[in-house]
Symmetry: C2
Subunit: 244 residues, 2 copies
């Protein structure tokens, strides 16, 4: 999310993926990736990888939302990662994963077979560099998430989640209008993200609504009425954070 340098290069077909893999690639390397890529689609709810699977390919999310989840023997589950478009699956040196990867909505991935991709990483150091940056961003995110899970109240958790969604979707139209924002997850998935139950999520979203902080078009689509109060409700230090 940081260092979001977008080069002036025009990507031929799937710009997002290349931005994710490498924010400063020149045309030659783009072509190299182009020739390797292969799309895969998953329907909502479908498994992308199971815990323990070999990662036969790495992938960039093009469309939709995928989740990383851990499950206890008795069925309790906790989301431990959320993949939105431009996010990447597959880490340096990791060929197995210890969590399930699931499509939370219909998902399109841009995939690269492991072996040639690993070779590419060896040959093109700055792509490898970019992969490490992505992994470090994930570690930072995981730590914020731990604070949320360990110490925040239900209200703060919801506010933090919504604020994160707003931040990731924040963009201004040319005409100055703000488009409606959309929650990328179902109530159940949000609960799973925040370590809560569906009922609590529902109630707390209701509270944001009745407090006049959010306004809902339908269950998924909403608008922010009072951004300042939303941010206050997160409980975070408001040192801003760069908008991406």
């Amino acid at each position: 999310m940081k260092n979001n340098v977008i080069s002036g290069v025009k990507c031929t077909d799937c710009p997002i993926q290349h931005r994710a893999v490498c924010s400063r690639c020149d045309h030659a390397e783009l072509m190299l990736l182009e020739s390797m890529k292969k799309y895969r689609s998953f329907k909502a709810g479908e498994a992308i990888f199971w815990r323990g699977d070999d990662l036969t390919y790495v992938a960039s999310v093009i469309e939709g939302v995928a989740t990383l989840e851990k499950t206890m023997e008795d069925g309790r589950t906790q989301m431990v990662g959320l993949l939105l478009p431009s996010d990447f699956i597959g880490h340096p040196g990791r060929t197995r994963i210890d969590f399930d990867v699931t499509a939370a909505s219909d998902v399109v991935l841009c995939c690269f077979d492991r072996a040639p991709f690993d070779q590419l990483l060896k040959d093109v150091p700055h792509i490898s560099q970019r992969m490490i940056e992505l992994a470090m961003d994930e570690l930072d995110a995981a730590r914020d998430w731990m604070l949320l899970l360990g110490r925040k109240t239900a209200g703060e958790k919801i506010a933090t989640f919504v604020e994160m969604v707003v931040r990731r979707q924040h963009f201004d139209r040319k005409d100055g209008m703000r488009p409606d924002l959309v929650l990328p997850l179902s109530r159940g998935d949000i609960a799973n993200y925040l370590g809560l139950t569906v009922e609590t999520v529902s109630r707390q979203i209701g509270k944001l609504k009745s407090d006049g902080i959010l306004e809902f078009i339908d269950k998924r689509r909403f608008r922010v009425i009072d951004l300042e109060r939303l941010q206050q409700a997160t409980g975070d230090d408001d040192d801003g954070g760069v908008i991406v």
Copy 2:
């Protein structure tokens, strides 16, 4: 913690640090590190880095325990990292940190000034490789920790923590005797690790004692009476996990 390949090389002075930085370094590179290192000591409770600090040096923990903590404006804090001997502070490409690093006990660090260390990483690819492995291990640990914070009960949290301590300290004496194990953190720090309060930690440790799972020599030193039941109490899938 994984890939714990210890080379046959005899380290001259501080073996642990070299194992942490590089598990397969040969003598020449060892000497290179030797010439760069510089010890720093911290007393229990002392700050090692503050949130927002520039990392002027990276470091390997030689003795003692350090913690990474996040704090909310109102003072609530959550531990987001625990550094035991052989753990490393400083990540590829990260020169600032977004959490406080504190000495939980008296700590000795083996430090390397940032600039020359970064140069070393450029020159010696497999040390850089090792750094990435360490970071990936941390990410894996963070995800297990998230499951713990989000979904485990107080009892499961404590059991998981104790089991982790047992695993990290597990080693057999030549005479076959098991040495006493020692909790590396105070009750307060354990609470902070697990997203609980001191009182709850105290009560749950008391429960492990009265259930005949643990036996205490004093508040810190203990022995495991029933490892199997301890592991069951963690709620984790018992697919073992390699002992380090």
